[in-house]
């Protein structure tokens, strides 16, 4: 049976003769976390804090007085830090969550291992090489474990690799095109996570994963457009950067409506608001531009909220 929602208790507190004790009992029984919720949290918290703190402690240890550790010691420490959790993750009687957590820790520690190797042998590699190696090396674990936090770690590493490559090697890549590329990458990932079941995955990914990745993609496209508008200043930028982005958003809005995702729609609305604001500030001179933009932002916020509320009502009605 679904739990009672908090607004009912809040409204009853106001419009009934229930006393504080009755409300407290109701809150504890119907709204607050129950034994199952606490078990889940404590399990995840102990495991993730345990592995996370241990991995961070090892990382800090490497950073401490690094010069005094002999070369072999450095490599051995880094290799042990990766291999111990990786080996432990193979023990079958450990719970699935524990094994996945252990392998995520191992994947996280692969980076320091590569850093150590690079430092000792003075490979002369760029930082992006390290991240690229990290991305490639843990890919098999990422695919095999298919664990949401591990996917997120991998995606962060891919984004970092591309950004560092642009900074250190591909000097001629325009900043906005780099961000559009990252936007495309993150959108593809968010789509993959959101539509995983259609691609044959047994169960859906946790909701937080696409909710983190999708806005990241929108942030990339927003910064790209704003950068292009403010840096270039010529009108052609609208046709080559802004218009394609808005068309992309139009397509995304269609998908979001289909998936009934208000959160995604809100992030697109915010992005459009920012992009148009940049256009106004750059193209309308002096204080008039700022004033007009203020009005635009206020109107766009109100309009977006009304639109989103419209769909919220429809979808609530459908659910009922």
């Amino acid at each position: 049976m679904p739990k009672i929602e908090r607004p009912a208790i809040r409204l009853l507190a106001r419009h009934s003769d229930l006393d504080a004790e009755d409300l407290n009992v109701a809150l504890h029984r119907e709204v607050y976390a129950d034994v199952r919720d606490w078990r889940w949290l404590v399990r995840v918290l102990l495991l993730s804090l345990g592995l996370g703190f241990l991995a961070s402690g090892i990382l800090f240890f490497f950073a401490f007085n690094w010069q005094d550790i002999p070369k072999f010691g450095k490599i051995a420490l880094a290799a042990v830090a990766v291999s111990v959790p990786a080996i432990l993750a193979a023990i079958p009687w450990l719970s699935e969550l524990t094994r996945k957590g252990l392998l995520t820790t191992a994947a996280f520690l692969v980076g320091p291992l590569f850093g150590v190797l690079g430092q000792i042998y003075q490979t002369g590699a760029n930082a992006y090489d390290l991240f690229l190696g990290w991305v490639v090396f843990i890919l098999v674990w990422v695919v095999a474990m298919d664990f949401a936090p591990l996917w997120l770690l991998w995606l962060v590493l891919v984004n970092t690799t591309i950004t560092l490559y642009a900074e250190q090697v591909a000097f001629d890549w325009p900043f906005d095109l780099l961000l559009f590329g990252l936007c495309a990458l993150n959108l593809t990932a968010a789509g993959g996570f959101a539509f995983a079941r259609r691609f044959g995955r047994g169960e859906t990914y946790p909701k937080w994963l696409p909710r983190v990745v999708f806005p990241s993609a929108i942030v990339c496209s927003t910064i790209a457009c704003v950068w292009a508008i403010t840096e270039s200043g010529h009108t052609g930028i609208f046709l080559t950067r802004v218009l394609p982005t808005l068309l992309l958003y139009a397509g995304l809005v269609g998908i979001c409506l289909q998936r009934k995702s208000l959160f995604a729609l809100a992030s697109i609305a915010l992005s459009v608001m920012v992009i148009v604001s940049a256009l106004l500030v750059v193209n309308v001179d002096d204080e008039g531009g700022f004033f007009l933009t203020t009005l635009w932002v206020m109107a766009a916020t109100a309009g977006s909220i009304v639109g989103l509320n419209h769909y919220r009502k429809i979808w609530r009605h459908d659910e009922a």
């Binding site: 607004p7 009912a8 809040r10 009934s16 976390a33 703190f53 961070s56 009922a320």
Partner: protein, 356 residues
């Protein structure tokens, strides 16, 4: 939530009680319908806060570029006018979602205008300006019933108090202010039923304050995690807030244990375990604060707050690297020992946590 679900929820709640409950159903339904029509999802609330923030920035740009800051009286009057318009639009009697959205933006723009107008007159005296910001926030909090505006006013008031604490007592001040806010957050969360029933005024504002308090505490925690690693000065002691944060977290844990662990000896053992796990955070209150908030927000089912706490926790651990009060070796040992303790606790509790 639909009207049907509300009716079911009310019936379930009242049926569980041994006595007849008197309900003013018309008033309850009217309130519910108003809330449903005018309160959005989290995304919509974020959008309206971001919109207000952007509108404020652009309007301040207009003020500066247009040279309006030359006349502090004009700024103050315009700001006061905007706050009044915001108050009018946010009234329930106006009742339109568009008006509500405009109210947030107009209030967001009016607030700094009044402050800067007044600031110009008092030559930007920091303490007076922060006190004025605090008072103005409290007045807006008192006159508004709109959740987003109330959220913003509590966050602003909290920010002003943190600033005042820092301005008057430096590091100690911000530690004291954050500890006080953490204690306030615990009381607010633990006393939900009592507060909801206390008055219509508090009932109306309960959720906004519940959402805003963790933001204020995390702002203070952000200061704790800011180790000024580039500074030549000796870093100030970073443990004052822990004197309050650790006992608070212990107390919240104890209240939970009282509920779920009936055996007294076992409960004492768990409490000792919790304190052992918390003690290493004594010199890193930025780590303890999100743990406290995570427990509180999880307990009351405020998942957005839990997500925020987890992000803050990850950030605090990553910032711990730059703490100049301890050597890297000390920090490494503290982290590794804590990690091992957490894993031992997990190994000991594994069967209880996963009865299957």
């Amino acid at each position: 939530m639909t009207k049907h679900k509300l009716s079911e929820d009310v019936r379930t709640l009242t049926d569980a009680l041994p006595r007849k409950v008197n309900i003013d159903r018309d008033a309850l339904l009217a309130d519910f319908e108003h809330d449903e029509a005018h309160e959005g999802t989290l995304g919509m609330k974020v959008l309206s806060i971001a919109g207000a923030f952007l509108a404020t920035i652009f309007f301040m740009g207009f003020v500066v570029v247009g040279g309006l800051y030359d006349s502090p009286v004009a700024m103050g009057v315009l700001g006061a006018l905007m706050l009044t318009v915001g108050w009018f639009l946010a009234r329930r009697e106006v009742g339109s979602l568009v008006a509500f959205a405009f109210a947030v933006s107009v209030t967001g723009v009016g607030f700094p205008l009044v402050l800067f107008g007044f600031g110009e007159i008092i030559q930007y005296n920091e303490v007076i300006l922060a006190t004025l910001g605090l008072l103005l926030s409290l007045i807006l909090f008192a006159v508004h019933r709109h959740k987003v505006i109330n959220f913003l006013t509590v966050v602003t008031a909290g920010g002003c108090l943190l600033f005042l604490g820092y301005d008057v007592l430096n590091s100690l001040g911000i530690h004291l202010a954050t500890a006080a806010f953490a204690a306030g957050t615990v009381l607010w969360y633990e006393g939900e039923a009592l507060l909801l029933k206390s008055s219509v005024f508090v009932n109306d504002r309960y959720e906004a304050v519940r959402a805003a308090l963790p933001v204020v505490v995390l702002t203070g925690a952000y200061y704790f995690s800011y180790y000024r690693w580039y500074s030549d000065e000796l870093p100030p002691p970073n443990w004052y807030a822990s004197v309050v944060l650790i006992p608070l977290t212990g107390w919240v844990s104890w209240r939970l244990l009282e509920r779920y662990v009936p055996d007294r000896a076992e409960r004492g053992l768990y409490a000792a375990g919790v304190l052992t796990l918390l003690l290493p955070t004594f010199f890193a209150p930025a780590i303890c604060a999100p743990i406290l908030l995570l427990l509180l927000t999880w307990k009351v089912g405020y998942r957005t707050g839990s997500g925020l706490s987890v992000i803050a926790l990850i950030y605090a651990v990553s910032r711990y690297y730059y703490d100049l009060n301890l050597t890297l070796l000390h920090k490494s040992v503290v982290l590794m020992v804590s990690g091992v303790l957490f894993l031992i606790a997990y190994a000991l509790l594994r069967k209880k946590l996963d009865p299957k």
